[in-house]
């Protein structure tokens, strides 16, 4: 059977249960694929073949006993190196946690284990998830599998690139301002940021706690539904985790005939939007219009303020969260310090990379005496206005359609010396984190350089089922998901 590594989890789980293939064969195929292409892609910070094959063997034994744990049984799933797995590295792409080995499992990791998944590798990311290109990793630059001279997006660049390249069947990442959806869009895969609180953040290393969410990557909408099902759960270890009825996402995908009312926010089609991206999104909107959906123009007037609001709130929260890396109980400790206070200064200076330092300084500044009201408090008020924009538009529509990113993946190095231009590349994704809303990016075409373009579907709180169904309707009527990068 050829190219097992490019089949979807939905297909593979059928083959596994019928015992036409084994998880051992599948995991071996993914390992071989990884070895063949990883010199070009550099998606993984590390992986452990023996540990993966051992999990695969356990899966095969469960299946043989008729004790399959569900559709993820025996499927290799990659994890962004910011999600704790007991006994594995947890570097967050940072030198300050270079030697850190997690003593516990994140709730999402436990959920994956309970679902029978094969946990596969530690995926590269921007240091502490701060970035939009994965160039801020302290270890390596990950390439976009569609053009290895381009970035894969970020911060979950390794998660997106590995799935696009067939080095993992599925992966999980985290999204604070677009870090799942933007790399999914750039790498031509599907990525979902769930409603804030749907997935436990316990064991997800904190960047900006009021914005961070874990979410799935896959090569089909159905696979995203399967993975979301496994990791969504209420968790008493995360006090922001929310008790809500979780539907059977895979079943509710099949609403092809439903006549959705879909909003198109005019502010998302302004000057900054690349022409070819704009055309692909317009075509996607036309598809829905021609297939029984009603398209309504809506307005989100505070859209442009989302970037400054996000970078004030996110850096403020980050400067507080990252205070824990002091070189005392864990994390890098400098051996040049002259006293205990100096130990903080030097350990942090040696351990953190440039973008992290920049955001700590910015966040500390906006929280400092004399600036708190002008920046942080005001940003929190504008955040309220941004959320109200969405609430108002959702009175009229079921979901919103937008581009995921204003451009396709850019070249490695192109924006790394210009933080502001990098920050502006998140314009269409960050509002959702500020408002806590779910969003999915689904491939909707390619530009003339054969770089993938993503359509973002934004939903009401806890309406993951609806946006999955809308994305699924689009995906199944197009062939984009059948295409893979040539590596």
């Amino acid at each position: 059977m050829s190219d097992l590594f490019y089949k979807t989890a939905g297909e593979l789980s059928g083959l596994l249960v019928k015992r036409e293939i084994s998880s051992w064969d599948l995991t071996q195929a993914v390992i071989e694929r990884t070895k063949a292409v990883e010199t070009k892609v550099n998606a993984f910070l590390s992986y452990n073949e023996a540990a993966a094959l051992k999990q695969a063997k356990n899966s095969d034994e469960r299946i043989a006993r008729g004790e399959s744990r569900g559709p993820l049984e025996g499927i290799p799933v990659g994890l962004k190196d910011i999600i704790a797995v007991n006994g594995e590295q947890l570097s967050c792409g940072s030198k300050i946690l270079e030697k850190f080995n997690s003593p516990y499992d994140a709730t999402s990791a436990i959920n994956l284990k309970n679902a029978g998944a094969v946990l596969w590798g530690r995926l590269n990311m921007d240091e502490f998830a701060m970035g939009s290109s994965t160039e801020n990793s302290a270890y390596q630059v990950t390439s976009n599998p569609w053009d290895i001279e381009r970035i894969p997006g970020g911060s979950s660049g390794g998660s997106a690139a590995s799935v696009a390249a067939g080095e993992a069947i599925l992966s999980i990442g985290s999204d604070t301002g677009g870090s799942i959806r933007q790399p999914a869009s750039f790498c031509g895969v599907v990525g979902l940021k769930p409603t804030y609180g749907l997935i436990s953040r316990y064991g997800l290393v904190a960047y900006a706690s009021s914005l961070d969410q874990i979410g799935p990557f896959a090569r089909s909408v159905e696979d995203v539904a399967i993975l979301l099902q496994a990791i969504a759960s209420h968790d008493r270890l995360d006090s922001t985790s929310i008790k809500v009825d979780i539907p059977d996402y895979r079943t509710v995908l099949k609403q092809e005939d439903r006549r959705w009312k879909l909003g198109v926010p005019t502010e998302y089609f302004s000057d900054g939007l690349d022409k070819e991206v704009g055309v692909a999104i317009e075509n996607a909107i036309k598809f829905f219009e021609n297939n029984g959906c009603e398209i309504v123009n809506v307005s989100l007037p505070h859209t442009e303020l989302a970037v400054p609001v996000y970078y004030i709130i996110a850096t403020a929260e980050a400067s507080s969260n990252l205070a824990r890396y002091d070189g005392i109980r864990y994390s890098h400790r400098s051996d040049r310090a002259i006293d205990s206070i100096d130990l903080y200064f030097k350990s942090r200076a040696e351990g953190f990379g440039e973008e992290v330092k920049r955001r700590i300084i910015l966040g500390t500044y906006v929280l400092s005496s004399g600036y708190y009201d002008a920046y942080y408090l005001r940003a929190q008020k504008v955040r309220t206005l941004i959320r109200q924009d969405f609430i108002k538009s959702f009175e009229k529509v079921d979901a919103l359609l937008t581009p995921t990113s204003p451009t396709v993946a850019f070249k490695i190095g192109e924006r790394s010396e210009d933080p502001l231009s990098m920050y502006l590349s998140d314009i269409y994704t960050i509002s959702l984190n500020l408002a806590g809303l779910p969003g999915i990016s689904v491939p909707c075409g390619f530009n003339s350089d054969k770089m993938p373009i993503g359509l973002q579907v934004i939903g009401k709180p806890y309406c993951e089922a609806e946006i999955l169904a809308i994305a699924h309707k689009f995906e199944r009527s197009h062939d984009f998901y059948k295409e893979h990068p040539k590596l």
Binding site: S331, I341, I361
Partner: protein, 96 residues
């Protein structure tokens, strides 16, 4: 908001307990100046009577049952300590 605010990088770096090189100070000052100028845009909108929002959804205190559970063993708790001795973390001398 102070439009003239040149960010006092040394003061802020001290608050953040972060040593910066001369190069970093220069580079960050210029870049953050540009970013802060961009941040001024949040003044374009009237926020009178708008409630600040710290979280996407109302968050209330969450209580959990008070029950004993297994915690980390000493070995687990100390496995990432940069320096340890006799089941304790070694730190630089704090008192004279």
């Amino acid at each position: 908001m102070t439009n003239t605010s040149s960010i006092d990088i040394e003061y802020v770096a001290n608050l953040a307990r972060l040593d910066l090189t001369e190069n970093e100070k220069k580079k960050f000052s210029a870049q953050l100046e540009e970013v802060l100028k961009y941040f001024e845009r949040i003044n374009e909108v009237d926020v009178t009577d708008v409630e600040p929002m710290a979280h996407a959804f109302p968050v209330f205190n969450v209580w959990d049952e008070d029950r004993a559970e297994e915690g980390f063993t000493v070995e687990e708790a100390l496995k990432n300590a940069p320096a340890k001795r006799d089941d304790q973390i070694v730190v630089p001398k704090v008192v004279e």
